[in-house]
Amino acid sequence: MTLQARQISKAYGVQRVLDRLTLSVDAGEVVCLLGPNGAGKTTLILTLSGLQKPDSGEVLWDGQAAGASALKLRRSIGLILHQPFLYEHLTGCENLRFYSLLYETGHSEADLRKLMGRVGLANARPIPVRGFSRGMKQRLTIARALLCDPRVLLFDEPYTGLDQQGCGMLNQLVQEENARGKLILLTTHELSFIRQIATRFDVLHRGKIADSIPNDGISLDLLQEHYNTVVSAGGTRQKELA
């Protein structure tokens, strides 16, 4: 499976966030999207997932636009955004059961328990989610994203709220999914953790993929330096008027 963004542009009024951006991710890759705040990483994730339509350009799956199979495609994407998508008065398990019913995955109670175990919530008490810590909510969000056994993972800042153990758990999960041939794209600022699992780093700057750095064992310092060079090219980022 291949995901392609071709000449994607998106502007919010006069502010151009994505400017004829082109990107390609294959199954089996773990692509990490880097960029300063406000660079458009979230906008790009929203566009790739189909939740937002670009002003121009197209998103292609295996060379074709979503079209008639849009629902099937949406349901095969595991999405994590800044907010957890959780219902505060339901327990962790009930949240998962709700989404599994909605996705018609056919999970049993045991399956859901196993999934919660995978994200380290096996011993979580059956209390409403509003009693969960931020880290626990993030773990549950990850479980929710993996519920429909998605072929594609689009994670926006998935390390948010996770402790060291949690970050390790996430890395392990991503590697397991990667080994199963999934297509993975995530955004983060946690270079130290992502460096362990990413196959490639794409730097988003001025609405385009300014640079693409393969992860051939690059050191953290070198990666940081490379990133800084790219984003500071041409001085402070000018807001372009449409």
Binding site: L46, S49, L51, Q52, L71, R74, R75, I77, L79, L81, H82, Q83, P84, F85, L86, Y87, E88, H89, L90, E94, F98, Y99, L101, L102, Y103, E104, P128, R144
Partner: protein, 224 residues
Amino acid sequence: MRAWLHSVRVLVWKDLLQEWRSRDIVTSMLAFAVLSLFIFNYALELSPINRAEIAPGIIWVVMVFAGTLGLNRSFTAEQDQGCFEGLMMAVPDLSAIYFAKLLTNMLMMIFLAVLVIPIYSLLYNQSLFNWAFLGVLGLGAWGYSAAGTLISSMTVQTRMRDLLLPVLLFPLLLPVNMAVVKSCGVLLGTVAGQDIRGWLNLLLVYDAVVTTLSLLVFEYVIQE
């Protein structure tokens, strides 16, 4: 179609379970409604005959105002926890989200009516138990929820939220208000017998038009 109905069913289950757990909405709606009945008693010092005549009006007004409490909370979970995006990735069509919310809101209104009407009967010694009356209230609740769900899905995304809902909703409800109050008056026998078919037709047309329109435009409300 099957998938659409299935997702509506799951969404309604989730909303009812949320409400069962928290009991925020129904308890405040009920408290508000009963207190309003008390206020009406002192505000309108009426003879039993006059009171009997305006019973449908009072019941409906109380339901309309108490209903806004429920409507305001309809979409707060989806908005504040980002659940809109989660649902959008899973449902076959965005209209399913609207329809499920409409059913949930309607069920809450009916539940409110089921509690308020016996309380009213008790307080004012007037029996309001009449299937036709309840049926018309049900139709009114449908129209109210149809318009209310659409409006609240918009106001929850604005700065003013709760403040804006009544201002936007009430002007749209005039046909429902008139139809419900006028036909209930006749059905309860407190107003001289008139032909209420016109009112019922109007109510049905309103319910159908607003529901259909909302199903069509809902995707524009939540999709950027």
